[in-house]
Symmetry: D3
Subunit: 137 residues, 6 copies
């Protein structure tokens, strides 16, 4: 059993805001992250897949195909977008790094299964100083 990781990127706007709270409570809990006019990040996305080596290729999974799946399913939908407004699979979700990470995992897991491997985990950097990891349970 080996693990292979592919890094991709997307740049997006978002805000942290709980619509069931007052402005004051949002400001108190989320601070400047609740700016109603949005802010944004260069996100770095690490997708780790596990599996056995195909002896004919030496690969767990073809990295070019893996990259295409991540770009098609995730980056094309998040890059240069507003995470709160523009993304079907984040509708009604607080766009914390935690929730975005889980959503990405849930989309990619079945796609990678179809490639004959298994999604091990997602690691999402919001800035170079903080990241979230999710392994599916």
């Amino acid at each position: 059993m080996l693990f292979i990781t592919r890094k991709e990127h997307f740049n997006a706007a978002h805000k942290l805001y709980n619509p069931q709270w007052t402005e004051e409570k949002n400001a108190e809990v989320f601070g400047k992250c609740s700016n109603p006019n949005w802010h944004g990040h260069n996100y770095s996305l690490f997708v780790t897949v596990k599996g056995n080596i195909n002896p004919e290729t030496g690969f767990i999974v073809n990295l070019k195909e893996l990259s295409t799946v991540i770009r098609t399913e995730i980056c094309d939908k998040l890059d240069h977008k507003n995470l709160n407004l523009d993304v079907d699979f984040l509708k009604g979700v607080m766009t914390s790094t935690e929730n975005v990470t889980i959503a990405i995992f849930n989309i990619l897991a079945p796609k990678i299964k179809k490639m004959g491997a298994e999604l091990h985990g997602i690691k999402l950097y919001e800035t170079e100083n903080n990241y979230v990891e999710y392994f599916g349970n």
Copy 2:
């Protein structure tokens, strides 16, 4: 004559959009950067100051003071903000990295002169793959 550089950060939303153009022309020129719902970046800001060494301190300029000036004058006004909507000194300006870099230079130059040194240049990274430099003329 020496040069000292301080790196600071801000995370902001913006879009590239020329209000005198049609939607189509904006989309054609700016592509996904013109998304009306905004996108965003983790900006890295490098401020380079030149001067001679003060023999009592060994410093061109006190880095802690330099950092405070950059944070007060620039980062506090841009961090977790929308560059198109929230920033007095960018009102009516296309928020390309080029224009943001010039605006930052013009604000910091007189502040650094007051510290007894000279602003040499500003280097602003929008992503790890592109940055703009401006040296004041």
Copy 3:
């Protein structure tokens, strides 16, 4: 169950020296790390917390609070200090990256428990070429 990691920094002096050994044995085992006049490093500290998402915030833990705890309990006590001389919780400890990592874990674990989450692990870089990880057992 998710994992969130926050990166912080401290710059410190130290030496590796076993007082029960001769100078020669210290030099032989620790090499230039045993320089009696000290040397130093820019340490990078990664603190990983695990927990479930609070549905009201989308957070495992509020990163700003996590950062404050790490800075107050660790960085303020180690930054611009001599690890061998200035730090209460390292008194009598060989200041190898291994021992510093364990000490940091043991201080932060109960503080993070009070925040309603669990400290998963500490990763401490002494240089960009070596780091130690500790997961508490």
Copy 4:
């Protein structure tokens, strides 16, 4: 139980090519990686060792010795080499990152056991956008 990781480097040429396939199939599966005239990479190698702390040194393992073992057993044999042609322990192996990672693990595991510690895992970056990890089973 702690984990210590040492990073080393090697720069090498290779190609991905299955000799039992036609040129066409190689090109189809491996794309530009199958260029018969080779291409190459700056590989980054992370070796993670686990063990308990020796109370006399504060070390799991002496990093200088660990570095020497990695350089002698691995980097000296791969650096500025052709992975397909010049390396005894890769003869007849597809030089995918996956297979190189396993080969490195299998060489280092007994060497590190002799140092009184245990090889936990190997992480090998082929580019900054992809890496493989192997933990021995």
Copy 5:
């Protein structure tokens, strides 16, 4: 006058070898870089363009177009290639970082002139520890 820089990548094989010298002299001067079976690198290429801002776009030059020019003219011809064997514009040239940098400059300068800007300089990293810069004269 501003400067904008775009970073691109290519991974290639090469060797340093002077065909007018003996094997011994090549080995003496170039060391392991003269391995007849090649070695390789992940090259990072920084292209810096200077010009004035187009007030309609806020751009010196459209970065997407700049990226396309660099990829079409340079990266597509060098990526996953052997610099000594596969590249028209390096035929008969020692493939030192110095010579590759100059060759890239000379190809890009007229292309960027056609975009209405001026090529200021090329910075080419062979490894993270060494790079060459050329400004055209």
Copy 6:
């Protein structure tokens, strides 16, 4: 005329302290950098050399020789040392990054002249957030 840059490292202890001042004034100006028990850094040193290409080698200067000169003349004297106490060429000098940068330049300039090239500049990072550059006048 081209420029080639080599990156090297050293890890050292130091403090900022003006012996002609009171403790209070030192603390006021230098803050935690004046800790009498020292602190330290992982310094990154970039040495840029300019010259013309030797057509027989394709080199401005042999990088291996350049690296050896930097290590022998600078890194061996600063690495795992106390900059205030252990370094002949820094005796009586405030060990600010500015002063260390100038001292390194002045040592390396004549050595690089002997190699048939010219020292263009020194860039010294004290942390990843600040660096000094000196070009010799």
